[in-house]
């Protein structure tokens, strides 16, 4: 198959997700500037089982893969075929494939500085993301680093599962509330899980932020409307940076490593009393 115009491919696991949509928007912006088309292959739409990639990889000018959407070995195979690649929000250790990631460690440090330094919280519950996702892993490691930096106590039951699913996060939050209530903050690996925790706490009559502060990683319209404190990087920019990596490779630049985007704190009512 060949395309009428040069084309960038995007492989994602859910093109309508808030994050994925913003990344794809960013890729399209740069593609438009260079008169490229963008073809999106969403291989596991809305919870459906993952299906094989349908893009004709060799006909593409370049390919962006979002958040571990396909196995690393498959991506290594694409690299061997010579197609320019960019990874968004994940990396493959031991390869030279360039990637664009947000600085999860810096983001967690910023959130913890806010919770500990500015809000005076010391007993913080963490809601994990999906164990096999790079972002989830880095945010958890970042959280634990900050726990050490501030010399805080972290009982094992304060690390609860969320799997990047608001339902799972709510369930874990309820279970923890039934077990113990001696925490003074909840930090979620993404903002949708943070909102789910906020709902559970509010329904249980817990004073937020008086008794418990709540914050989450990433930002969207939902966190703004619910007053959830977050840290966020510009996700559209993440897409733009990835597309630029592809354009650079297409004009002959050999590159390796990761482009890292910083995050900024967005303090709202769930940590700052109005």
């Amino acid at each position: 198959m060949s395309f009428k115009r040069p084309t960038l491919g995007v492989i994602t696991n859910f093109q309508h997700g808030v994050f994925q949509r913003a990344v794809i928007d960013g890729i399209r912006q740069i593609a438009d500037l260079h008169s490229f088309d963008v073809l999106v292959d969403s291989i596991a739409e809305d919870g459906a089982p993952t299906r094989p990639v349908s893009l004709d990889i060799m006909a593409l000018g370049g390919l962006a893969v979002i958040s571990n959407a396909i196995p690393d070995d498959q991506i290594r195979g694409y690299q061997a075929s010579g197609v320019p690649l960019a990874l968004i929000s994940h990396q493959i250790p031991g390869t030279t494939i360039p990637a664009v990631v947000t600085d999860n460690g810096q983001g967690m440090a910023r959130l913890m500085r806010h919770l500990v330094g500015e809000c005076g919280r010391r007993r913080i519950v963490f809601i994990r993301g999906l164990a096999d996702q790079t972002d989830a892993h880095e945010r958890e490691v970042g959280f634990q680093r900050e726990i050490m930096r501030y010399m805080l106590d972290l009982p094992p039951e304060f690390m609860i599962d969320g799997d990047f699913s608001p339902e799972t996060a709510a369930q874990s939050m309820r279970a923890l509330l039934n077990q113990r209530q001696d925490f003074d903050a909840v930090l979620a690996a993404d903002y949708l899980m943070g909102i789910a925790a906020l709902d559970v706490l509010t329904q249980a009559g817990v004073n937020v932020p008086g008794a418990v502060c709540v914050a989450g990683y990433g930002d969207g319209s939902e966190s703004e409307s619910r007053g959830l404190t977050t840290v966020a990087a510009d996700v559209i920019e993440q897409g733009r940076r990835g597309a630029r990596q592809l354009m650079g490779q297409m004009r002959g630049l050999t590159m390796r490593g990761v482009t890292v985007l910083s995050t900024h704190l967005i303090p709202r009512q769930t940590t700052v009393a109005q």
Binding site: T259, V260, S262
Partner: protein
């Protein structure tokens, strides 16, 4: 020393930069004021301003107030921060960190790549492929590339004289970068640049505070010195300096104790001696050491004390020779925090008087991009005499 006569080009460059500096620092915002601020004639100012506008460094925007004589209000000139971009890089023994900034030093993007133990020509390739990661992100013409490396560097000649960590010897790195990117390329010692970056950032409160020694501990140990705000250009890698540990008969290099790989190795040894230690078997960081030491973990306390004892050798010599007001501990080692400073003071006091130690202010600079930022400052200052 031979003194070269200034040429017409030199004079023009000087005048252009005077003009640009005056606008950048807010000394003047229109052609008439620029003539007063720079001492140049009005026709010269107009000609140079037109050039700088054409090249994108200045832009006309808005109208100023009328003069006291009721003359025509002047057109205002503004500095364009995004007219050019600069890539600043720091290479240590572990990775390449590169930043892309505009002419006000504001970060546009960061790009990093691990060295994975590579040295020599392979490390040069990784350096270039990392810089390429930011070349792909350029929004404006590239003003310069500037690189900090560990070791002894001849900045004027653009040659890495000796960098054992990277196995770079007499490497004409600036020429390689110039050939690659067709723009001015600068190189300097990492710690010198870290010191420069701190001075330029205005971290110092007083002139006296500008007398500082920066000890950068990454893959090796490097020293940078600023005296009265100016960078002393003979700093460098002291990781190869040997010392005789207590109870041993053979001297070992400082880097063999303070370099990160040595710290990991020593932690492994201590885990065998202290099986219940909180030091993790994998993924060890300085924060783990600090946290465990803070909880009175004997292995972590011992490790931290050993690091402080060896680092105190460099600290003591710095104090004895230079009497700095401030000693900055830079790099990831800063994560050891106040515990490290307390142990350093203790060990330094074994060799110098307590008064000498007390007179020195110790600070921590954990910013990973300190040297890369210094590299940017050097390049922008050399090219445009600003920042």
């Amino acid at each position: 020393m031979e003194v070269r006569k200034a040429t017409r080009q030199d004079l023009k460059r000087h005048n252009r930069l005077s003009l640009l500096r005056a606008v950048y620092y807010g000394l003047a915002d229109n052609r008439a004021a620029l003539a007063v601020a720079t001492g140049l004639t009005k026709p010269t100012v107009s000609e140079l301003a037109a050039e700088l506008i054409a090249e994108g460094f200045l832009v006309e925007g808005g109208i100023g107030g009328s003069t006291e004589m009721g003359g025509k209000p002047p057109r205002l000139l503004n500095f364009v921060s995004d007219a050019r971009q600069v890539i600043g890089v720091s290479v240590d023994g572990l990775e390449v960190r590169a930043i892309l900034v505009n002419l006000k030093g504001q970060s546009v993007a960061e790009h990093t790549a691990p060295l994975d133990g590579k040295t020599g020509a392979e490390a040069v390739t990784i350096l270039i492929e990392t810089i390429n990661g930011l070349v792909a992100q350029l929004d404006a013409p590239l003003l310069a590339v500037s690189v900090g490396v560990p070791g002894v560097v001849d900045s004027e000649a653009g040659i890495v004289k000796r960098s054992p960590l990277l196995a770079w010897y007499d490497l004409a790195l600036a020429d390689t970068l110039f050939a690659q990117y067709d723009c001015p390329a600068y190189i300097a010692n990492n710690t010198e640049l870290a010191a420069l970056g701190q001075v330029a950032r205005g971290n110092a409160d007083t002139r006296e505070d500008h007398n500082r020694v920066t000890l950068l501990i990454n893959g090796t140990v490097e020293v940078g010195v600023t005296v009265q705000g100016a960078v002393y250009h003979r700093g460098g890698d002291i990781g190869a300096m040997r010392y005789l540990p207590h109870g041993r008969t053979d001297a070992i290099p400082l880097a063999d104790v303070l370099g990160w790989r040595a710290v990991e190795y020593r932690a492994q040894e201590l885990r065998r001696d202290y099986p219940n230690t909180r030091l993790p078997a994998t993924g060890l960081t300085y924060l783990h050491i600090r946290h465990a030491a803070g909880l009175k973990d004997p292995a972590a306390e011992l490790l931290l004390d050993e690091l402080a004892a060896v680092l105190s050798i460099a600290v003591v010599w710095s104090i004895a020779l230079l009497r700095p007001h401030t000693i900055v501990l830079a790099g990831q080692v800063a994560d050891l925090g106040d515990l490290l400073i307390a142990r350093l003071r203790y060990h330094a006091a074994e060799r110098l008087s307590i008064d000498d130690i007390a007179a020195v202010h110790f600070t921590l600079a954990s910013g990973l991009n300190l040297s890369a930022r210094g590299a940017v400052v050097m390049a922008v200052h050399n090219e445009l005499e600003i920042l």
